[in-house]
């Protein structure tokens, strides 16, 4: 029987992790995502599934606990919000460099610096372009509902293990804090140590039996020619991910003459803006990237046959708009509209921006 609840996005992350057989959560409190760890501590999953939940001494320690757990082939995760995610960047690049699977949730708030505790989408560059050093990519999933906060936990772990790559759920303070109806998943048992050895024993540090060479988890390679070879291996992996894992949603696009491109909570605002615009006779649709890496570049390019202009709507000073412009490559006007610092655009503001920046500007 389907299990429907009314829950906060952050609470759902915790519940979904328990139900998906997550082995360990390591976190540090920060607004607006502290409900993730609070929910876990209240639920005591260690009594139910054996899942480890630990409040670390810092975000730095938390992400490195994730590194340690992931190195053992365990399903491990952390969550934080923007300033905390900045602290985790060192660990994230090591995890990417060591090709470890894990799930990282960023419930984004406005910045820079300590900024605000209110929602924003100003960590797009950090998430998608590599917030840490070196050439690496995260697989980035952008939920637009509490339901997707639930669904992307399992899908995120699946992708992480499929590609041995860290996956980030790039949420924001709106999705994390709002309550919606959500259908929770079935309980999945945690992998046993024997199952892990069977599936991941070729690379995971599970203790070296006499029958195999030792497994070493590292991102160090002092021989430059071998490091370059490894970099190319990563590039190939990212290419495969780009070819196979692009996810997006199109809304009211069939007859659209104009297009919004927006992800996460901005895409929800755009849905209302579409209603308002269409009531005024403006045929506008929405392309919602669900994966931010890989980005739905081709899908945007396909829309160029029918739309006259694109408005990228995001709660930032204009970050994702750069990927829209790269896709469009100057063929039609692309503009950005966003509110900043924790301010959330209204649907009316979005329609006004479409009219002023795209339609009348043409």
């Amino acid at each position: 029987m389907a299990d429907y609840r009314l829950m906060k996005g952050n609470e759902v992350i915790a519940e979904a992790a328990i139900r998906y057989g997550c082995d360990g959560y390591f976190g540090y409190p920060i607004t607006p995502q502290s409900e993730v760890m609070e929910t876990l501590m209240l639920r005591k999953p260690w009594e139910e599934t054996g899942m480890v939940v630990l409040q670390a001494e810092s975000e730095v320690a938390a992400i490195n606990m994730v590194y340690g757990g992931a190195s053992c082939g365990k399903k491990v995760m952390t969550s934080s919000s923007s300033p905390g995610i900045s602290l985790k960047q060192e660990g994230i690049t090591y995890i990417a460099g060591a090709e470890l699977p894990c799930l990282i949730v960023n419930v984004v708030r406005g910045g820079p610096g300590l900024g605000t505790i209110q929602p924003a989408q100003s960590d797009y560059f950090q998430a998608v372009k590599g917030g840490g050093h070196g050439d690496y990519k995260l697989i980035v999933l952008a939920p637009a509902s509490v339901q997707e906060m639930n669904d992307f936990v399992g899908q995120g772990f699946d992708l992480a293990f499929k590609y041995r790559n860290p996956v980030m759920i790039l949420s924001d303070g709106v999705i994390g804090q709002m309550m919606e109806k959500v259908q929770l998943g079935e309980f999945k048992p945690r992998w046993t140590n024997e199952e892990i050895e069977k599936m991941h024993g070729s690379w995971a540090t599970v203790g070296k039996p006499a029958s195999r060479e030792r497994n070493i988890i590292t991102s160090l390679e002092l021989d430059s020619s071998r490091q370059e070879k490894f970099n190319h291996k990563l590039i190939e992996k990212y290419k495969t991910i780009s070819e196979n894992e692009v996810r997006f949603e199109k809304i009211s696009c069939d007859d659209a003459e104009y297009l919004f491109v927006a992800y996460g909570s901005s895409s929800r605002i755009c849905q209302k803006a579409i209603e308002l615009a269409r009531a005024k006779g403006i045929k506008v649709g929405l392309l919602r990237p669900i994966t931010l890496f890989p980005y739905p570049t081709k899908q945007i390019q396909e829309m160029l046959k029918q739309v006259k202009g694109i408005l990228a709507v995001e709660m930032s000073a204009g970050q994702m708009v750069e990927d829209v412009r790269l896709a469009v490559n100057g063929k039609i006007p692309v503009e950005h509209f966003g509110r900043l610092g924790g301010m959330i655009p209204t649907p009316n503001e979005v329609v006004d921006a479409l009219e002023k920046q795209i339609i009348k500007g043409k």
């Binding site: 490195n64 606990m65 590194y67 540090t205 006499a210 030792r214």
Partner: protein, 254 residues
């Protein structure tokens, strides 16, 4: 003269290389303490028959390549973060023997938060702390444990307290934490010291098997390259200068 083959018999064998040590050429300088301590850890793992159950966490520093020398599964941590990795490994695999192997820059400077909190939580791990008072790998810079007046490449006129503060006796701090069951300071510069040091390492690994919380072993060590002294002179300098400040012996849980 007797034929060597006459002498090389099983009954005459008094020493052999541990099977937990690989055949890889060690990257450490001649005279460096790392090689000795690696050997001791390998011997303890072999004698306890826990090769399949041991997971090592190596640091950033000269021993970043420890995974080349001990034939066990290894994780290589970011600078200072080994205790965080070990925390997760030990909690997710309580059936394993987990140890970190860290230098003084790694453990007592950049990783101070991680080591203090892992020890305070009493994570069921062994910490092996090589303290030679200098950053060896990066070329001999001042470490948190550099002695007052000791010259390094970033304290070329000797460590000046006004400029750089005092050397950190982190092991004394660690001994205060309720999560630690065994805290000791050892050396490995003489046969007697090596034997004592091995006994301490053995005890620490046994503590993990007995779920006693954190066991912490500092090994006061030399860095003849960084100290710009010969291996023999380094040992003498260590005895004369390091030992009075970093006094050997058990601090907790003899």
């Amino acid at each position: 003269m007797a034929d060597i083959k006459e002498i090389m018999k099983e009954e005459n064998l008094v020493y052999k290389k541990s099977k937990v040590l690989t055949d890889n050429t060690m990257s450490y300088c001649p005279g460096c303490t790392h090689g000795v301590v690696h050997k001791l850890v390998a011997e303890v793992i072999e004698e306890m028959d826990i090769q399949e159950k041991t997971i090592g966490i190596c640091p950033v520093g000269c021993s970043v390549l420890a995974y080349n020398f001990l034939d066990i599964d290894w994780q290589q941590a970011a600078h200072g973060r080994a205790p965080a990795l070990a925390t997760a490994v030990s909690r997710l695999r309580p059936d394993k023997y987990v140890f970190t192997y860290q230098g003084d820059g790694d453990l007592a400077s950049i990783g101070t938060a991680e080591i203090i909190h892992a020890c305070n939580r009493g994570e069921n791990i062994v910490v092996i702390f090589i303290n030679n008072g200098i950053y060896g790998m990066t070329g001999g810079q001042m470490a948190p444990t550099t002695l007052i007046g000791m010259p390094t490449s970033t304290s070329p006129y000797g460590r000046d307290v006004k400029l750089a503060g005092h050397p950190l006796k982190i092991t004394e701090l660690i001994a205060q934490l309720p999560g630690t069951s065994y805290v000791t300071r050892q050396a490995a510069h003489t046969p007697a010291a090596v034997r004592k040091c091995k006994k301490a390492i053995r005890k620490a690994f046994e503590n993990v098997g007995n779920k006693k919380g954190t066991s912490f072993i500092e090994v006061v060590s030399t860095c003849n390259s960084g100290w710009k002294l010969s291996p023999v002179k380094s040992n003498e300098w260590m005895v004369e200068h390091m030992f009075p400040f970093y006094q050997l012996g058990d601090l907790k849980g003899e």
